[in-house]
């Protein structure tokens, strides 16, 4: 079916309604969503064509059925539980953030002191010092790369707070 049957604004009122190509207008007619000019075109067709009248009647009956139904609501006691869980979840999120931050700071400092102690150790062979140097450069480059990627994605993703 044609997805964009009517982009916006009414068509010329003298143009006859085409039930094949413009069938979605019948749904809009039943919903009372058509502008006056379009409504007039549909009504002109309805007056002249029993098949279109029958189709509108079928759409009305379906609408009556769907209007008689609604989505169930969550009971109030569920919402009480929901809000308790939500605040706990939020609290835990903050706790994890603090824990991670603390671990990074403490771990980072311990690592720094460890590498520093090895570096100044005169007994350590030169190739081990080279290894430590390469290890530090690798970690630093990875960190910079990940941060840069995150910033790049954040700047370009319109729905970064929405879809994940």
């Amino acid at each position: 079916m044609n997805e964009d049957i009517r982009q916006d604004g009414p068509r010329a009122p003298d143009r006859p309604f085409d039930p094949e190509r413009e069938a979605p207008l019948l749904s809009a007619y039943v919903d009372g969503e058509l502008p006056a000019a379009e409504r007039a075109r549909v009504e002109a067709r309805l007056a002249a064509d029993p098949e279109t009248r029958a189709e509108v009647a079928r759409l009305r009956r379906l609408k009556e059925v769907t209007d008689a139904m609604t989505l169930k609501e969550a009971p109030p006691e569920e919402w009480e539980r929901f809000w308790n869980q939500a605040y706990n979840r939020l609290e835990r999120g903050l706790a994890w953030f603090a824990l991670t931050l603390g671990a990074v700071i403490v771990g980072g400092y311990a690592l720094y002191r460890f590498v520093e102690s090895l570096w100044v150790d005169a007994q350590l062979p030169w190739f081990m010092k080279l290894g430590i140097y390469a290890l530090c450069c690798g970690v630093l480059l990875l960190l910079v790369s990940v941060i840069r990627e995150r910033i790049f994605v954040r700047k370009r993703d319109r729905y970064d707070d929405v879809v994940r």
């Binding site: 079916m1 997805e3 809009a28 009956r61 059925v65 139904m69 939020l90 929405v162």
Partner: protein, 206 residues
Amino acid sequence: MSEKTPPNNAPGIGVGDPAAGAAILQDAADITRFLAGDQESFGMLMKRYQQRAYAVALGLTGNHDDAMDAVQKAFLRIWRALPRFRRDQPFFPWLYRIVRNCALNQRRDEHRHRGDVPLDWVRQPDGRLSPLAETLAADLRERLWMGLEALPLEQREVFLLYHFQGLKYREIAELLDIPIGTVMSRLHSARLQLRKALGEEEEAAS
């Protein structure tokens, strides 16, 4: 024909709708208070929208537990993202996109058994079924729901927004960023599919 109101009687999102205008102001006030450190304002804001968010999630996941999980995840995202929300805009479209995506992620990640059919009959103010509902076949809810589940996502979404969120065509078009003609086509296609799913039973409504 009676018109259904969205869950919690929340206002639409239409520009120029006085109720929507008042809602924008109320939401903006709560958000401003929240950003100033009043965390209770967040709860007040979200409680106004919780049933509506639940209806969005339930329509897309088809399962109470998944819907509650998706809404909870969505609310946590909103908590974090609220400083970036533009307060001169209606809140519901923004919330809708977040809940929708959390619900679709939930649907993809969880494979729970489908529970009860999440559709109910509209009841009269005294709690009784409407005379129309009493004349319809008992399994009609199940068949309608199965028909809805079988719809392509884009048709199902438009159907849910129109019938269960009470939005107008133009509001749906703005929310989904599609032409109004596309809303019309998707809704019509959805109805033709549902008609097939319901078979001749709908005749009973006549």
